[in-house]
Amino acid sequence: MNSALITSGLSAALDYTTPLLCACLAGLWSERAGIVDIALEGKLLVAAFAAAAAASASGNAFVGLAAGIVASLALAFAHGYAAIDRNGNQIVSGAALNMAASGLTALVGNAWYHHGGRTPPLAGAARFRGLHLPGSAALAHVPWIGPLYAQVISGHALPVYAALALVPVTAYVLKSTRFGLRLRAVGENPAAADNAGISVRAMRYAGVALCGLYCGLGGTYLSVAANAGFLRDMTAGTGFIALAALVFAKWRPWPALATCFVFGLLNAIADRLQGLVLPGIGKVPVQAVQALPYLATVILLSGFIGAAIAPRASGVPYIKARA
């Protein structure tokens, strides 16, 4: 393999990692607060649509980002209302929001733009373009570090760096702040947190809101940076792979980054594997590589290699007292 293939593969892996990482950290906030969210996919989708529509109307990618976040938050609060205020089944609510998101984006997209749910192509300032990090030209000729910096790390769109920055931020807030401690307490033992005077409802809404915020960024990246517009069902399972990654990372931020990068790398490899013949194995089917994240998650969940233990109270409505 030549180095150009490796650097382009790693660079593509970083692009694939971005929406996964956003959705995975989003799910992390929600589940650490005790709210299971299988509607990461739906949030990414509405964010992608709203961002593309707003960016195309305004010609400004940042307006798109704001709209993406607002749309994703709306879905997050619908989930929060059912799960927190109404003690509803969180899986059912998530499944409902995924369906509604898929239907709504296709329906409204078709009614507004008449292109089978596709938004108008974005160009210029309406799109997040690749940024050239300072010094990438100067370092380009340094062996190893140069190509790595210039071709893998530099050249991505703003949301990619924003998503990467979310990892230390999430890790710090979750682990080292009073807010993070309280949020985790509510996800592990809400009754104890309640007794200590922490509002379970407020902390859970905070987790759900952060989930909406992160998914907003991830969805916007898909339609306004990685692609030049919205396509019907363009998330194509990203939200579910993020869910798998969350289990794999055992609900922790840094392992989430590692898992999402590995899953992103698998995607990049699958792209470059079409028709490639490996010695001793023969032709590797693309589908086998695509199936790996799902398969790995099932094996991990089965408990044969280490255990994946979810936040203890996640999925369980907190009922303060009998009415």
């Binding site: 059912v92 995924n98 009614a111």
Partner: protein
């Protein structure tokens, strides 16, 4: 009203209220798009029931949704959320196709039942692994069935592209099923009798779906093992105390659930398309969640809710011809809203209606 009547009124009113709310919100969405929701509703009813052919298509979709709804409902009665009916139906399509292509010369009297059994077996097998992992290893069945949906997508697209596709065929689809393996269509039967009917894909699988609904009711509510399954679904500890193994019940429920999901493959592959197509389930397995929740996990409710969703899908298809702005995606929105209102917010609706019924009861007692 006595408590029994009140429970019955509640069982009827809660689904009606949730679907009414879902329609109301969907109507608002139609307004936002700039169409008239009343005209849309009228067109959808005419499109689903307005002629014999339209009714045929409606019942064809109903068949899929009864199978999907029963699959989700059986698991639900055992306290499990089977989100994987779509993947189970997809893999069941493989069973149907392999059996039909392996024994093309067999008499249809043998081959059709064999294909149905193969579909049920493959669907059950795809549900068995998540079930076993839940029962014996404690893996959360929601996550595993989601993963198994995607695994089914990858497995089937590999098989369709690389193994099942006939040489020289560009489409990722299997060879055509032999005529002996086709589920007889109602319109063919009527034409054979000399009646002049428009052909529709409605086929014998519809009767199979109704029989399955009756069978599931008989099993869940009239047999010892069905009772055990429901007890395990409500309270695992009580079940264990009564000598019912919750683990076994999980596996039994999921096997039956997967087999029922396989009915969708019978309807689509043997009844309509005549070959295995990529993504032939078109997400209908997920409709089962809405159908089961609306039908409150009861086979009769599932059959009625299946009919409603059959009308919605057929009406939605017809509607797209008359009102191009409102595509069939509208139905996906309604479906999501039904699941949200009937499932996630069920407590809210139930509490309101219970209060309403109690109020009327108190008022009647006072006069």
């Amino acid at each position: 009203m006595n408590p029994r009547q009140r429970a019955l009124a509640e069982a009827v009113l809660v689904p009606l209220a949730t679907i009414g709310f879902a329609f109301l919100v969907s109507g608002l969405v139609v307004l936002v798009i700039g169409e008239n929701p009343l005209i849309v509703a009228r067109l959808m009813i005419a499109g689903s029931l307005g002629s014999g052919a339209r009714l045929g298509y409606t019942l064809f979709y109903t068949t899929d949704f009864i199978f999907a709804g029963l699959a989700v409902a059986v698991a639900y009665q055992a306290g499990l959320f089977n989100i994987g009916a779509d993947g189970q139906a997809y893999v069941a399509g493989l069973g149907v196709t392999l059996m039909a292509l392996a024994l093309p010369g067999l008499s249809p009297w043998l081959l059709v039942p064999l294909c149905v059994c193969a579909g049920a077996a493959f669907g059950a097998l795809w549900a068995l692994i998540p079930a076993w992992l839940q029962a014996r290893r404690g893996s959360h069945i929601v996550i595993t069935t989601i993963m198994f949906n995607w695994l089914a997508t990858d497995l089937m697209s590999y098989l369709l592209v690389n193994v099942l596709r006939p040489k020289g065929d560009m489409q990722p689809e299997s060879a055509a099923l032999p005529a002996h393996a086709r589920m007889p269509a109602f319109s063919h039967a009527a034409q054979a009798l000399g009646l002049d009917v428009t052909p529709t894909p409605l086929n014998g699988a519809f009767i199979l779906a109704l029989l399955s609904a009756f069978g599931v009711w008989l099993w869940l509510f009239r047999t010892r093992s069905g009772f055990g399954l429901r007890v395990a679904g409500v309270n695992r500890r009580a079940a264990a105390y009564a000598g019912i193994s919750a683990g076994t019940m999980i596996i039994v429920a999921m096997l039956v659930s997967g087999a029922l999901a396989g009915g969708m493959a019978v309807n689509e592959v043997m009844g309509s398309q005549g070959r295995l197509l990529i993504d032939f389930t078109s997400g209908f397995g997920f409709v089962g969640i809405a159908v089961a929740l609306m039908g409150r996990g009861h086979p009769l409710g599932v059959a009625l809710a299946g009919l409603l969703f059959g009308m919605l899908y057929q009406g939605g298809t017809e509607l797209a011809f008359d009102v191009p702005a409102v595509t069939r995606d509208m139905i996906l929105v309604i479906q999501g809203l039904v699941v949200y209102f009937a499932g996630a917010l069920e407590g809210l609706f139930r509490a309101r209606i219970r209060a309403l019924l109690a109020g009327r009861y108190a008022g009647a007692a006072a006069t």
